[in-house]
């Protein structure tokens, strides 16, 4: 009974990492597939990936978009959270609801809405448009961790530095922001990951020469299913996993199971 339960638990926990492990293994096989009998070891798909200018260009493009988006969203969320947490104004909770609103819409519907919006603003099929759309959808991901760490902050520390004669801007720079650091880091990393991996909405916003890495991978799998995908996918897996490890080191993973962040 006990053994049976352990086996069941192991199978259960293997489900989530399974496809990721399979992708990593197939990326170093000569056929690009993980099949039985095993095909010989080969780096050829990595060589193909790193010598293809188009893939490298898209990697840099998506990275640049994600950094820009994470920076804008985190800044916007920090400023908004400071006001919402510390000032009682009319529409306080309405504003918060509006920030979180994009989360409750099906992604494909958001894609169509953003397609219309970008046309209206005259930026359809441009990177500016993609950045704007990504900022809107990442804002909730930045807002929650920042607000959570703001709420945990002890106001007495700020008051103490105020009463010692520090100006409000000095308090913000030397007391508040350093204490918010874990929240800010996780907000930034969250936004980066969401933007860097986004395909469902972005797929509506691309133009022939304006695209992102995940969207290009998506169309590549559909069209040719070239095994070079396995190498790129493995690269992205290692990249994401190092970001998660960074997150675990800096802020811990508890934030994922915090009540406020899911309610």
């Amino acid at each position: 009974m006990r053994v049976l339960r352990s086996i069941f638990t192991i199978i259960l926990f293997a489900f989530l990492p399974l496809p990721i492990i399979i992708v990593v293994v197939s990326s170093v096989s000569a056929t690009g597939y993980f099949t039985i009998p095993l095909s010989p070891f080969s780096w050829r798909w990595y060589v193909e990936f790193f010598t293809d200018h188009e893939w490298i260009r898209l990697l840099l493009v998506s990275g640049a978009i994600a950094i820009l988006v994470a920076f804008i969203s985190t800044t916007a969320a920090l400023m908004a959270a400071l006001v919402i947490d510390r000032r009682k104004f009319i529409g306080n909770s309405l504003f918060e609801t509006l920030i979180m609103l994009p989360l409750v819409f099906p992604n494909a519907a958001l894609g169509v809405a953003f397609l219309g919006l970008l046309g209206l603003l005259g930026v359809s099929g441009t990177y500016i448009g993609i950045v704007l759309a990504h900022c809107i959808i990442t804002l909730p991901f930045a807002y929650r961790p920042i607000l959570n760490s703001l709420r945990k902050l002890d106001p007495a520390i700020e008051e103490a530095s105020m009463s010692l004669g520090a100006k409000p801007s000095t308090v913000l720079r030397t007391v508040t922001l350093p204490m918010l650091k874990p929240g800010l880091i996780s907000a930034f990393l969250f936004c980066f990951i969401v933007s860097f991996d986004e395909a469902t909405i972005t797929v509506f916003l691309i133009a022939p020469d304006v695209t992102t890495l995940p969207v290009r991978i998506l169309t590549e799998i559909q069209e040719s299913a070239s095994p070079v995908i396995a190498a790129i996918a493995t690269f992205l897996i290692i990249f994401t996993l190092s970001l998660v490890l960074l997150l675990e080191r800096t802020t811990g993973l508890e934030l994922f199971a915090e009540r406020e962040s899911t309610a």
Binding site: L16, P19, I20, M79, L117, L132, F196, A233, V244, L253
Partner: protein, 278 residues
């Protein structure tokens, strides 16, 4: 008294993003009602008169409900094990969160490699002599459901975990002291108290499934698309914005059809629990 009073001007950037979002949604609604040179319900009438579209709509609901169900069946035990794990809980959390944050495109590709006609599972079954010809595991609804469950299951796990980790341990201990067995304790204490998490998780998985594109596109067949992929393919072929907008509205309503009753249920459950003083 708070020490600093930040200026309302700090809301500006967030306000611009919110305004852009609301403009987009308003534009979506308005355009969906455009009919020729005037306004009307024509786009919606057209949608519901097309049998293939209605079939896609029904399939979308069915697949999303199935994905939610299986995500719960797999996700709940995982959350339960993590919550009751005494030693290194972070390690188990990693096993959930790491795959969760890996790109959806990459994870879905993993399922193509595993379940595809030349994939891992088929090669395994053939080499063991269990089957002669590859099984058709993807490019159908089975593939889509497997993919969606995998991609969105972590949302369910995290929602339930958030509730389980904050459960009052003394209730469980009290139940055990009163000599209730583990199964009885689970059904009398743990399960009812975790219901809000189960509902939140179900809402998320259902919502995300209805709006998914990557997974049904890569793991679904040509003939069994979902509403989201149908919209995407229609937009690619002929750029008819009012038509796409009306389909997006149908998709929205499909999502809310189940989400709103679930949300009401969640509120009732929460109210009942606070009434009990739990």
């Amino acid at each position: 008294m708070k020490s600093t009073k930040p200026s309302l001007a700090l809301l500006a950037v967030a306000a611009i993003l919110i305004a852009a979002f609301l403009t987009g949604m308003a534009y979506l609604v308005i355009e969906s009602l455009r009919a020729g040179d005037g306004w009307g319900w024509d786009n919606f009438v057209y949608f519901f008169n097309r049998r293939d579209y209605v079939a896609v709509l029904i399939r979308t609901i069915l697949v999303s409900v199935l994905a939610t169900l299986f995500a719960g069946l797999i996700g709940y035990p995982i959350a339960y094990v993590i919550a009751n794990y005494k030693r290194n809980r972070n390690l188990l959390m990693m096993l959930v969160i790491m795959p969760w944050l890996v790109s959806v495109v990459v994870r879905t590709y993993g399922w193509v490699v595993i379940l595809g006609p030349k994939g891992t599972l088929n090669s395994l079954l053939i080499s063991w002599g269990i089957i002669d010809t590859p099984l058709r595991l993807i490019f159908n609804m089975t593939g889509v459901v497997i993919g969606l469950v995998h991609v969105f299951c972590p949302f369910f796990i995290v929602s339930v975990l958030a509730v389980l980790l904050h459960q009052d341990k003394s209730l469980k201990e009290a139940s055990q002291t009163l000599s209730a067995g583990p199964i009885k304790t689970f059904f009398n204490i743990t399960w009812p108290l975790s219901l809000p998490g189960v509902i939140t998780g179900s809402i998320l998985v259902y919502l995300l499934s209805t709006g998914a594109i990557v997974t049904p596109l890569l793991l679904g067949g040509v003939r069994d698309g979902m509403l989201a992929t149908q919209i995407y393919q229609d937009v690619l072929q002929v750029f008819d914005y009012p038509k796409a907008a009306s389909m997006a509205i149908v998709l929205l309503l499909t999502a809310f059809l189940l989400v709103i009753p679930l949300q009401l249920l969640e509120r009732r459950v929460a109210a009942r629990m606070s009434g009990r003083g739990a």
